[in-house]
C-alpha cells in the first residue's frame, strides 16, 4: 500500500468511528438465538438509525397531513418537509434540478416507470434494449414486458468469470438499433461495481438512453448523476437506511418533460374535465395520488445521516472491513467466493462444497448471524455461474471486523457439521 493510500485510509478511520455509529442503530443491540445479532443481510434491507425512526415518529405525532392541498397549518408543514426531502435527495445524487427527482415506491417502480412511460411509446419492433447478465429481476422483467408490448428485443452483456461486466462484449452489442441501455451500478449478488461512466458514454455515442439501477450502490459509493452522465437513475430508500416503500427516480428534465405520465390520478393533473385533462409540471406529473409522505421525509433523514458521516469515509471503512472478511472467508477450505472483481463493495457471495446455501443460512442464524441464501433475484446470473443459489453476506457501515470474525467462525461450524 502506498503512503498516500495509507494516509487516506487513516483519514477515513479518523472520520469514522463504527462503535459510535452502532449506537445510532437500536435494532443492532439484541441477541438472536442466544448470540449477539450480526446483521449481514444489508443487501436485502438495511437497518434504520435513531434519526430516521425519530423523524418518522415525529411526523405522525406532530404534523401528519396531506400535502399540496390543505390550507391549514399541519398540511403546510407536511408539504414543506416533503418538498425539503426532495431537495435533500436532489443534493445527495447531485441532480441539476429538483424537478428531476421523482418520488417512487422504490427502484422497481422507478424502472417500471421508465420502461412504460419512456420505452413503450417510443420502442419499435426490432429496436434493442441492452442489459447485463448480472441484473436483478427488477431490471429484467420490466424490459421483457415492454419488449412484448412493442416488439423490441433484449441484448444481454455477459459477465466474466470474475463477475465483471464484459465491456468489450458490450461495445460489440451496441449498434444502430440500440435504444436503451439499462444496467446495475453495484451488483446485489456479486458486489461488482460497474464502470458506469464508460458504459453511459458508449451508449450516448450510439444515441441510446441509459438507466442505472442504483439500489445497492447508493449506501456504499458516492453517486453523482451529472458526473456519470446517466439519463435515469433509480434507487430505494430502505437499502440506504430509510423506510421501505419510498425511492427516487432521477431523470433528465428534457426526457421527463417529453414523457407521458405513468399513472393518472390526483396531484398529477392541472385541470380535469371529461373532455380533456391537462397534466401538472415536473415532478408532480409522475406522482399521482397521495404519496408516501412520511417515507420521503424519513428517506431525507437517512440521506442526511449518510451525508453527515460522509459517503467517502463510509466507503473507505467498509472496504477495509469487507477486504478483511473476504480474506478470512476465502481461506476456509472448500469455500469459493463468487464475484472477485477488483472493483467491488459490500458483498461476499460464496459457495461451500457439499453444503446447500439454505443449510448454511440456518446454521449461521443459530449463531445470531443473518445472511441471505438463495438466488438473490438474479436467476440468470446464478445460471451463468452454474449454481441454483449462493450464500451472501452483505455489509453496511455499522458492521465490524469482530462481526466478520463471528461470521467466519460460524462458517467453520457449518463445515464441521456437514463434514463427510
Amino acid at each position: 500500500m502506498s503512503k498516500a493510500e495509507t494516509t487516506a485510509l487513516e483519514h477515513g478511520r479518523n472520520l469514522f468511528d463504527v462503535y459510535e455509529v452502532r449506537k445510532d442503530f437500536p435494532v443492532l443491540h439484541q441477541t438472536v438465538n442466544g448470540h449477539p445479532l450480526v446483521y449481514l443481510d444489508n443487501g436485502a434491507t438495511s437497518q434504520k438509525p435513531r434519526a430516521v425512526i425519530d423523524t418518522v415518529s415525529h411526523y405522525y405525532e406532530t404534523y401528519n397531513a396531506n400535502i399540496h392541498r390543505g390550507v391549514h397549518f399541519l398540511s403546510e408543514n407536511a408539504t414543506r418537509e416533503y418538498e425539503a426531502a426532495r431537495d435533500t435527495a436532489q443534493r445527495f445524487i447531485n441532480a441539476a434540478d429538483r424537478r428531476e427527482t421523482i418520488f417512487v415506491r422504490g427502484t422497481t417502480e422507478g424502472i417500471n416507470l421508465v420502461a412504460q412511460a419512456y420505452g413503450r411509446p417510443r420502442l419499435k419492433p426490432g429496436d434493442e434494449i441492452i442489459l447485463s447478465t448480472m441484473e436483478h429481476h427488477s431490471n429484467i422483467v420490466p424490459w421483457q414486458m415492454v419488449c412484448q408490448q412493442t416488439g423490441a428485443k433484449l441484448k444481454v452483456v455477459p459477465v466474466t468469470d470474475e463477475g465483471e461486466f464484459d465491456f468489450e462484449a458490450y461495445l460489440r452489442l451496441l449498434g444502430p438499433k440500440t435504444r436503451i441501455v439499462a444496467t446495475v451500478h453495484l451488483s446485489n449478488s456479486l458486489g461488482t461495481i460497474n464502470p458506469v461512466k464508460k458504459i453511459v458514454e458508449a451508449a450516448r455515442q450510439h444515441g441510446a438512453v441509459t438507466l442505472l439501477d442504483g439500489a445497492q450502490a447508493v449506501p456504499h459509493v458516492a453517486v453523482d448523476v451529472q458526473d456519470i452522465g446517466v439519463d435515469f437513475y433509480a434507487f430505494s430508500g430502505h437499502k440506504v437506511f430509510g423506510p421501505t416503500g419510498i425511492g427516487i427516480l432521477y431523470g433528465r428534465q428534457e426526457l421527463l418533460d417529453a414523457m407521458e405520465p405513468y399513472q393518472g390520478g390526483g396531484d398529477m393533473i392541472r385541470t380535469v374535465s371529461f373532455e380533456e385533462t391537462t397534466y401538472n409540471d415536473l415532478p408532480y406529473k409522475f406522482e399521482a395520488g397521495t404519496p408516501n409522505i412520511v417515507g420521503a421525509i424519513g428517506l431525507a433523514a437517512a440521506l442526511d445521516y449518510v451525508s453527515n458521516l460522509g459517503i467517502d469515509a463510509i466507503s473507505a471503512y467498509e472496504d477495509d472491513v469487507v477486504a478483511y472478511a473476504t480474506d478470512k472467508v476465502a481461506d476456509i477450505p472448500g469455500v469459493r467466493i463468487i464475484g472477485t472483481a477488483p472493483e467491488k463493495s459490500g458483498i461476499i457471495s460464496f459457495l461451500m462444497d457439499g453444503v446447500h446455501p439454505h443449510d448454511i443460512g440456518t446454521v449461521l442464524d443459530s449463531q445470531g448471524v443473518a445472511i441471505r441464501a438463495g438466488h438473490h433475484c438474479t436467476m440468470p446470473l446464478m445460471k451463468r455461474f452454474g449454481v441454483a443459489a449462493t450464500s451472501r453476506a452483505s455489509f453496511a457501515l455499522y458492521n465490524t471486523k469482530e462481526e466478520a470474525d463471528i461470521l467466519v467462525a460460524a462458517i467453520w461450524m457449518v463445515k464441521e457439521m456437514f463434514k463427510r
Partner: protein, 151 residues
C-alpha cells in the same frame, strides 16, 4: 435453538449419502418435477407402479440437506408400498409438518424413521424444503404434467 433437532444424524447421513439418488428406475411410468421458487431447488421423482404397488422409485435434482434427506427417506419408506399406503403416509407427514404445536406421540410413532423430519417444525422457513419431495411424489402418482411448486 437446538440445531441438532433439525440436523439430526439421520438427516445428515441421508444428505451425505442419499438413497435411490440419482435414479430413474427401469420402466418408470410415473414422474413429476417439483420446484421451490424461493431457493431454486428442484427435485424429480420417478416411480414404477404396477398393480397399484410402488415397485421401485428414485429421485434426481439438487436441494438442501433437508429436502435431500426428506426425498431419500421417502424413497426408502415407500418402496413396495401400495399407492393407498403412500397417500396415507403423505397425509400424515404433511399434517404433522404444517400443524401447530407438538406432534402427538402416536403420530410420531406411526412415522417411524420419518419422524426425524419433524425437527423442521421449529424452522418455519424450512418446512417447504421437507415437503417438496412429498408434494412431487403426489403429483407423480396423480401424473400431473405441470411442475409442482411449493408456492
Amino acid at each position: 435453538m437446538d440445531l441438532r433437532a433439525l440436523y439430526e444424524e439421520v438427516i445428515l447421513d441421508h444428505n451425505r449419502n442419499p438413497r435411490n439418488y440419482p435414479k430413474r428406475p427401469e420402466g418408470t411410468n410415473h414422474t413429476a418435477e417439483g420446484h421451490n421458487p424461493l431457493c431454486g431447488d428442484h427435485v424429480s421423482v420417478h416411480l414404477r407402479v404396477e398393480n397399484g404397488v410402488i415397485q421401485d422409485l428414485g429421485f434426481e435434482g439438487e436441494g438442501c440437506a433437508i429436502s435431500t434427506a426428506s426425498a431419500s427417506l421417502m424413497t426408502e419408506a415407500l418402496k413396495g408400498k401400495s399407492e393407498a399406503d403412500a397417500k396415507v403416509l403423505f397425509d400424515r407427514i404433511h399434517d404433522a409438518l404444517i400443524a401447530d404445536g407438538v406432534t402427538a406421540d402416536e403420530v410420531t410413532e406411526s412415522l417411524g424413521k420419518l419422524a426425524v423430519l419433524l425437527g423442521v417444525k421449529e424452522y418455519p422457513m424450512r418446512v417447504k424444503c421437507a415437503t417438496l419431495p412429498w408434494h412431487t411424489l403426489q403429483a407423480a402418482l396423480k401424473q400431473v404434467d405441470e411442475p409442482v411448486t411449493t408456492e
